[in-house]
Amino acid sequence: MILVFIETREGKIKKSSLEALSEAKRRGDELGSEVAAALLGPAMDCLNPDVFSYGAAKVFLLENARLGAYSSQGYAAAIHELAQELQPKVIFFAATAMGKDLAPRLAAKLGVGLASDCTKVAVQEGRLEFTRPIYAGKAFLSVRLKSSPQLATLRPNVFPLSEPRNKAGEVIRKEAVIAEGQINGQVAEILREKGEELDVTEAEVIISGGRGMKGPENFALLKELSALIPRSTVGASRSAVDSGWIGHQNQVGQTGKTVSPNLYMAFGISGAIQHLAGMSSSKFIVAVNKDPDAPIFKVADYGIVGDLFQVIPPLKEALAKALSE
């Protein structure tokens, strides 16, 4: 069996969990293993149809009042108990903030190895081989885990969603056992920043700015472009972040976040090695820069040598037109 931890935010399943489920189904078919989903917390029933349509044959609903707020200790205890009972061969998580927090805790509880932030999973001799970027994408490491179950977190936006199928499955409800005092740290509150920006690790399109943006006020131009494009967000280079023009959560690169969007648009970014490492696995790269020798042009699929302040207005117009058609 391949077990997939399904993450929910505000009553909805995260897209990256459905990607992990889709990948579990593909590899499960190869291994001859069925796929099961684990949903934690109260009142998750309404989400069952989603997990069945993306490939789960079974869903385990783990309930306990102590699972209402996320805590790595409570969640790890609940999944650990389920894993002891089911003895799955593999457990997948999405490599989200929650998945990255929870999976290593569970791995240590089970005493097994973990492959983090994988971008490829292959079946070899009945076991899985995991490929993942290291040095923020300057190299790719492939590993096998000698221990069982094999745990992995899968990077969002990399594994394709399968075509949803109208299928039913088995629902198994369980009361998770979490002892008094087992949780001594948990989420008290979620603090929303203004607006609801998509994180750079989840966006399908990233509109990124660097030193060439010249000042914080000009990031508004990138936000206007982003507002036109569905599932897009604004990113930044290290120098823009270190100048205080935009928050560090938007920083792409080795000292920020490694991203793999469908489209990465770099405005006024020269392309320092640590920035290129963090974005060069993007499917398409566009660069707009005054300097024809900027290293960013060596990785860009499409480049415009010119003043970004002259390119953005007509670009915005052309994008608006194309997207409205």
């Binding site: 190895g113 190299a139 740290g185 008290a188 560090h248 000292t255 499409y302 052309a318």
Partner: protein
């Protein structure tokens, strides 16, 4: 407060990485090594907490003697003590292996502590595993990818970054906290600090002293391949006036790349 900070020596983020296919490892000659940048935020936070509340900051690294350089840097920044756990094995990319070693060192050699600080991930293996694994091994709560930390008595509050928002996490001490950019601005070493660090001895602990068997420190992660990323080709430079180029770009993104 008694604070333990765990650091790692990694290649400078400005370095090009080359690989040796025969040994499935990176080529270390001519690489410049630094303290993993996330770990610097952890050291800085420990120093600030000590300045506010008193106590002691001990910095710990597992690795070869080459890690002494980054330990010295932390002493020069102001840490009270630095300790090396001697690990002769090259990078194994196995977070659990390191977590076992660190947790055992804490239990055996540093049993009195309030806070364990880490960087959110080493800039290299990029695992982001060790802090949570050490927390689990020691039965402690954890707050990872933290950009704000407050300690009040034996309670802690941290802000941690999640997708598009922040999570406020509350926990009791002792606890594990992992730091990232945004938490603070690490200080530079002072001349006085550098001189002091030169004189300070850095004790080394062996696996034997920690009662770690060969079996316990054997990697569970088997490296099967190490590859360079697929090379990207420089693409088209779109000619014309800004207006023409912008329109052509949208056309290409729509018709050729099909991403818009």
């Amino acid at each position: 407060m008694n604070i333990l900070v765990f650091i790692k020596r990694v290649p400078d983020t400005e370095s090009k990485i080359r690989i040796n296919r025969e040994t499935n490892s990176i080529v270390e000659d001519s690489l410049n090594f630094i303290i993993s940048p996330n770990d610097e935020y952890a050291v800085e936070e420990a120093l600030r907490l000590r300045e506010a509340k008193g106590g002691q900051v001990t910095v710990i690294a597992a690795g070869t003697e080459e890690s002494l350089v980054v330990l010295k840097k932390c002493l020069a920044m102001g840490a009270d003590e630095a300790v090396l756990i001697k690990d002769e094995m090259k990078e194994t990319y196995d977070g659990l292996r390191i977590a076992k070693i660190l947790a055992r060192a804490v239990e055996k050699k540093f049993p009195v502590y309030d806070l364990l600080l880490f960087g959110k991930q080493s800039m290299g293996a990029d695992n982001a595993q060790v802090p949570s694994m050490v927390a689990e091994k020691l039965g402690l709560p954890q707050a990872n990818v933290v950009t704000k930390l407050e300690i009040d008595g034996n309670k802690g509050t941290a802000h941690r970054e999640i997708e598009g928002a922040m999570e406020k996490v509350t926990f009791s001490l002792p606890a594990v906290v992992s730091a990232q950019k945004g938490l603070n601005e690490p200080r530079y070493e002072t001349l006085k600090g550098i001189m002091g660090a030169k004189r300070k001895a850095i004790p080394a602990l062996t696996f034997e002293e920690l009662g770690l068997s060969q079996e316990e420190t054997a990697p569970q992660v088997e490296v099967t391949r190490l590859d360079m990323p697929p090379a990207r080709q420089a693409g088209k430079i779109i000619p014309g006036t800004p207006e023409e180029a912008a329109r052509e770009l949208v056309k290409l993104l729509h018709n050729e790349a099909k991403v818009i």
